[in-house]
Symmetry: C2
Subunit: 406 residues, 2 copies
């Protein structure tokens, strides 16, 4: 049985690193605060005898030896980075729950047959560096190491520079190795479990998602003397495209999602029609075929609207993460572990991307969800109940033990 108070208090100590005034967390990937979070986590793991490997993407592998260290490890992974106005649970919960599993086994002097590794993946959020899940993405072979290293934040700092700066550019090749099973425990980040009053989500897969930058080029002119019908106004085009994409999401309701998280205009002067408008577009659907249709319609809508508004546009493909189905053995292990506890559960798909999406390409993988308050995440107010946090970790321990033992 895990120590739920120890887990909760570790979460709260970690949440102080990057704590925000509104009770959330801003510990973005590869900042000084991310370094501080990593340092603290590594020190906790070393206290119980784990060995650290750091790979070329700064992914951390904390290894607890098994009885037979030639056998492939069971891995428990998630991330320590946060959104700019993020919460205290997204990602860090999965990492510290992994630590709690190791601490529990250590307290009980129990050694598993397979080694166990807790993994911290670099830049899962995609908030500072796009795309998301890049540490696990490079590791799994989805992206090359050069692509990963060269991704830059809005100020132009690259992942490689920032890894070097904070001392987490490792030498271990960023590449997959034999793995017995991979688990990731996470808050749901959506409202379903709370709504149906179940404490555990047995996650069977992850919906497909695509990221784009839509760049619209207009003509800067004076806001006063220029007649409306002589303008090439990127804001006019953007407003119509956004409205039509919300309508597109409605067309494929309730599953489809359309989100516009960032908008920038240049030169950004009140009395000048903008020259350029850049809009981030995030489209999602659990059905890969429908996501494909949404992608096509997004391109058509952009083309039609921009032609009608007499502006040019380009669509930059930032990310394409197809829908994923997890491994049956891992899903079964989670289901059996939760059934043994008697906790009410629901089988479900994830609306958010997770490192498990990429890990699942090279290792048997599944995930466990717990409810979060009102389904709110990517928000400083993100919250979860201590009893749910404990239940998720207990199920994780059960699932890990099943597959680490045989």
């Amino acid at each position: 049985k895990i120590n739920s108070e120890r887990l909760w208090s570790s979460l709260m100590v970690m949440a102080e690193i990057g704590a925000t005034p509104k009770g959330g967390c801003n510990r973005q990937a590869l900042t000084d605060l991310d370094k501080a979070g990593r340092d603290l986590f590594v020190s906790w793991c070393k206290e119980i005898g784990c060995e650290l490997r750091v790979d070329q993407m700064g992914n951390l592998f904390l290894r607890q030896k098994g009885a037979d260290n030639n056998l492939p490890p069971v891995i428990i992974g998630s991330h320590l980075d946060s959104q700019p106005t993020g919460g205290r649970f997204d990602g860090v919960y999965g990492v510290l729950a992994g630590l709690e599993v190791l601490r529990t086994l250590n307290d009980a002097n129990q050694q598993t047959l397979h080694p166990i590794e807790v993994v911290v993946w670099t830049n899962e959020e995609g908030a500072r560096f796009s795309p998301a899940m890049i540490g696990s993405g490079v590791w799994s072979g989805e992206f090359s190491i050069d692509y990963g290293w060269q991704r830059a934040d809005k100020q132009g700092a690259t992942i490689k520079q920032e890894l070097e700066r904070i001392g987490y550019l490792g030498e271990t090749p960023c590449a997959p190795f034999p793995i017995k099973a991979a688990f990731e425990l996470h808050i749901e980040q959506g409202p379903i479990l709370e709504l149906i009053n179940k404490q555990i989500g047995v996650v069977k897969g992850v919906q497909g998602m695509r990221w784009y930058d839509l760049v619209i080029h207009g003509q800067p002119v004076h806001a006063g003397p220029t007649p409306m019908d002589q303008r090439k106004d990127p804001v006019k085009a953007a407003a119509q495209i956004i409205a039509q994409l919300y309508a597109l999401a409605d067309e494929y309701a309730p599953q489809a999602r359309a989100t516009f998280g960032d908008i920038n205009v240049t030169p950004g002067s009140r009395n000048t029609v903008p020259e350029t408008l850049t809009l981030t577009v995030d489209l999602r659907n659990p059905n890969q075929g429908i996501l494909q249709q949404m992608d096509q319609k997004f391109r058509q809508i952009s083309k039609q609207v921009c032609a009608a508004c007499d502006v040019d546009f380009e669509i930059l493909d930032e990310w394409n993460s197809p829908a994923v189905e997890f491994d049956k053995t891992c899903i079964d292990a989670v289901r059996e572990a939760v059934e043994e506890t008697g906790i009410a559960y629901e089988e479900m798909f994830s609306g958010a991307g997770h490192d498990s999406v990429y890990v699942s390409r090279v290792a048997p993988t599944s995930m466990i969800f717990v409810p979060c308050e009102k389904g709110i995440s990517h928000n400083e107010a993100e919250n979860a109940k201590p009893e749910d946090i404990a239940a998720g970790c207990q199920v994780l321990l059960g699932a890990v033990l099943k597959l680490a033992a045989e």
Copy 2:
């Protein structure tokens, strides 16, 4: 007769201060480049014996003595600051044409009865510091000196700090004094004169304009798991409001204008519904009653859309510049001056705000326009023909001489 080559070459020399790669000008108010432009202009004026006064808002008054210096001066004013991606004529043309008038009189050894002052008004554009025309606004009594001093740019630097920094915080009180007549020569910044093939606009007034910041408050949530119908999404509200305001401008076509020059969202993360969206809104109409209706409808639209989208909003009133009619005597002086040259002219209203809007509250005022290429302004590609530039200055000289002589 003015020296058109000298005027053109002065314009081109000044355009090097803040020259942009695309052939425009970025000499924003109270930057180091603005200081350099002011220094150059003052040195040119001193060469022909003008005296400089700098007032508390950094407005510059360059005085050429008349035969009777107890008589009120005729003033010729405009601005040297530019948009971030501005052109080589907006504002600076009016200032350097004023200098060319003085140079011409100086060459001819001709002294007017009234003194003449060329005036450089601070921060006309409103691009770095909102609102526009603040130097002339404080001077005319529309704004208090404290309001003017405390206006800050996006980085928080105030006008007073920046005036001090560049050495243009003067001691002369920023307040009106007796003035015989005030003229401002400017490129049209719109397409009318070019379209109707006339070289001079006799400007009878300026349309009304209002600036707002619309701030929409939503709830940040995750782009993936959060159902569309459970979001409080400020982007959704903004897209609808923008579309309805374009429709509103159409309703009052062809005179009405609606422009959205700047949009900012926080936290600005791709996979998070924004917490806040701030939109600048610029509404204009030459008919003050219709502008009032547009203002009311803007507030109604914002209220209805935000209620439907379940988001909060506030409208911050940034600026309210009612429609203005210029002084009959000054308008007549311009009309007579242009008729004497035989140049084709049009009587018209200005779509852009100008310092003359505020000057006209305390002094008899009017303006002269010349065409600019395709009506494009607030754009690095802003252009004007040397012969039009010369014609405008010749008409200015004629109008000034009429009222400075009696």
